[in-house]
């Protein structure tokens, strides 16, 4: 029952609903890419700079090297979504661990953790990502790790704030008086209650991660063995005055996906925030 109420509240936000539908479509495209485009999307298959619609075999045209834009876009959705999800998972894992420890234990653990958070926050994110990618090498998982490392700080702060608010509540004290261990209290009692706002934040980190990946690929530091949207935009920029669609198509894909993820984040916020329940 409670679950249906949640979905109802989520669906009441029309934007979130539309966002979900579009993201599901993108996810479907990503999953079906190997079925519809079984060959390497980075293969040169036709004449370069074929405009969209010029040749029915390549509905979105070809890029400056004669690679199928549609195939790259669909395969790019895989890379882009994978990077977004995994980077968000890495950031959430680090953020929740650090934030929970800081909020629950307080004292020197809190002090140390929060100074670390501030340290990370003072480094410009994009520069930090680029530095990590340059040092570790431009492979898919290094990019995921790099984005995770720069994106965890807001999650840590949010988790800490929730833990600070919850750690002295009656139900927690009850658990303590029953002799429950710290780890059990953190994971089984406080975390489920602290999670809703963290989930909202994580969904936004997915969007941020996609933008980071696009920037990294745009600057030519992405994994050259995979198709990604940012790389497509980067490759097409020198042709912006003649064949602007090469930049525009993946650019629109990035914009729509990030927008939809933000809408979903809003919807989740509406659905999970009890104070907004009766709005």
């Amino acid at each position: 029952m409670e679950r249906f109420a949640f979905l109802g509240r989520f669906a009441r936000n029309r934007g979130a609903l539309a966002g979900t539908v579009i993201i599901l479509l993108v996810a479907f495209a990503a999953l079906s890419a190997p079925v519809f485009f079984p060959t390497d999307p980075l293969r040169m298959v036709a004449q370069p700079e074929l405009w969209p619609g010029e040749d029915p075999a390549f509905p979105l045209g070809t890029d400056s090297l004669g690679r199928d834009m549609l195939a790259m876009l669909v395969h790019g959705a895989r890379a882009t979504l994978l990077i977004g999800l995994f980077a968000s998972a890495v950031a959430t894992l680090i953020g929740v661990s650090v934030g929970a420890a800081a909020g629950y234990f307080g004292g020197w653990i809190d002090e140390t953790a929060m100074r670390a958070v501030e340290l990370f926050q003072t480094i410009p994110n994009l520069i930090f990502v680029l530095t990590i990618v340059v040092i570790l090498g431009s492979t898919l998982h290094n990019i995921v790790i790099a984005i995770g490392i720069v994106s965890w700080t807001p999650i840590a702060r949010m988790t800490r704030a929730e833990f600070l608010a919850l750690r002295d509540r009656e139900f927690v004290q009850a658990c303590r008086s029953m002799g429950m261990g710290d780890f059990g209290i953190i994971v089984r009692e406080i975390l489920p209650n602290a999670l809703p706002p963290v989930i909202v934040l994580s969904s936004l980190v997915v969007a941020g991660a996609i933008l980071f990946e696009s920037a990294v690929s745009f600057l030519g530091l992405g994994d050259p063995n995979i198709a990604s949207w940012g790389r497509l935009v980067g490759d097409g920029r020198e042709l912006i005055r003649s064949s602007w669609y090469i930049c525009a198509i993946p650019g629109v894909a990035i914009m729509v996906t990030v927008l939809c993820l933000n809408l979903i984040g809003d919807g989740l916020n509406d659905a999970l925030n009890p104070k907004l329940r009766d709005r």
């Binding site: 390497d40 980075l42 040169m44 370069p48 340059v134 090498g137 030519g220 050259p224 020198e238 042709l239």
Partner: protein, 541 residues
Amino acid sequence: MGNKEGVMNQISRRVFGTGVLATGLVGSLVHSSRAQGEPKRGGTLVATWGGGEPQACYVPAGGGSSPTFSSSKLFERLGNRKMTGEFVGELAEEWKPAPDFKSYTVKIRKGVKFHDGKPMTVDDVIYSVSEIWKKYAAAPALSDFAGIETSGDDAVVFKFNKPTPEFFFASLLCGNVNYIVPKHVYAGTDPVTNPANNAPIGTGPWKFKEWVRGSHFEYVKNESYWRPGFPYMDRLIIRYVRDPAGRAAAIEAGEIHIGVFNPIAPPDIKRLTATGKFVATSKGYEESVWATTLECNMRNPVFAKTEVRQAMFHAIDRNLIAKTVYYGYARPGTGPIFSPNKEFFTPDTYKTGFDPKKAAALLDAAGFPKKGSAKRFTLNLLAAGWFAENGKIGSYVKQALEDVGVGINLTVPDRPSSIKRIYTDYDFDLAISNQSNPSEPVPTTTQYYTSDGIKKGIPFRNASGFHTDEVDALVEKIKIETDPAKRKAMVVEFQKIISKEAPLLPLLELESTTVASTKVQNHSNDPNYLAASWHDIWMAS
């Protein structure tokens, strides 16, 4: 050529800058066919190039194309090479070999003054050669240099331990940064850190006035220049614009009059020249041809067999790369010496043309048969990220080699990582890199293929690890052969051997472009125009 301008601001194209880089300024006036009527005097010329600001206005060791561009307007060389290929004196009047070719007497031009008013003398020449050339600017070329001394008031004698061919010597005098610098400014200091490098005092047609960092150099006319009546213009501004789109806009708006070395992207070249107000030319790069190379790391045992290396080249369609990646501003390379090299080039080399069937057959024969869908072997392909085109070529080469059953992991590291991985760590199986060589093959070209070129940590040398006694011995003979015909025959032999051995070959020879307003006259009239003095350039109103 393609959009390499984009990454040019992080890289220096002439990274070595130490070789004997024969270059020339046109000594006498050669009016281009576009020049109409009498040259107009006065005015300010604003120039740019397809790269970024230099680390210093003048770098004694060369330091790349950027400082070569900025310093070559202020300093001059002893000799220069003309478009027609002949060598002419610049600060030297003439030079003559001794009968045994172990020494050369060079007569120095009289009446030349440095920008600070002091006269240029044989002392300046001796200082420049023994302290700057030998130690920084031309160290590898001067490996057999035995010393330099005066011979009367106006001549010097270069001495060598071994016979030195005339073409080699003339090329040395014309080397890119083999300038005559003022002894009274440099003596007793460390030339590398001398503050004068950022406000050079030379003998050239232009005098340094100001460097506004992040923006431009301002040079003014040298009123006491030794060529009477030159330069035509009053001021020369070298402006730096970070990206090619910005350069295209500035050229289009008339803020920049001339851009050398691929200032703008090929699609913009078409757009600008179509208006009739701008011209694009590939002239002026005959002595500084750039190539994109593919290099096999011989440390990987799969490359032990010559057939495997040849197969790599047969699998790649270079015409396709020229067309799609370089928009036609490139042509397939045929051997270690590039086709504009009039003295030494031979088209008669082992042909590694596009032939995937032959590539597959060679790999089969070498003991790497294809079993079903399994790869024959897998290689790490490194495309040096200093030019954006290299990454694109990397994607294509990956596809082409996978088509013949070779697995490829492609990486495109940035400039410092690429240099480290190719030339220090040798951490690659196949590398896509670039080189630019002068006409004289020794040492710049040959040290990619000889055992003395294997110098860990020194960029743009022999990174493939290829060496045979045959090639080493041949290069030693080329070094000291003074008969031009015999020497040419040896260099032809060298090209045949290397093209067949295929440790490293140019995939493509690149065509650099200069884009200028149609008002600019007398440009691109030197075989290495980027490094020319530009004393005869002028602008119509």
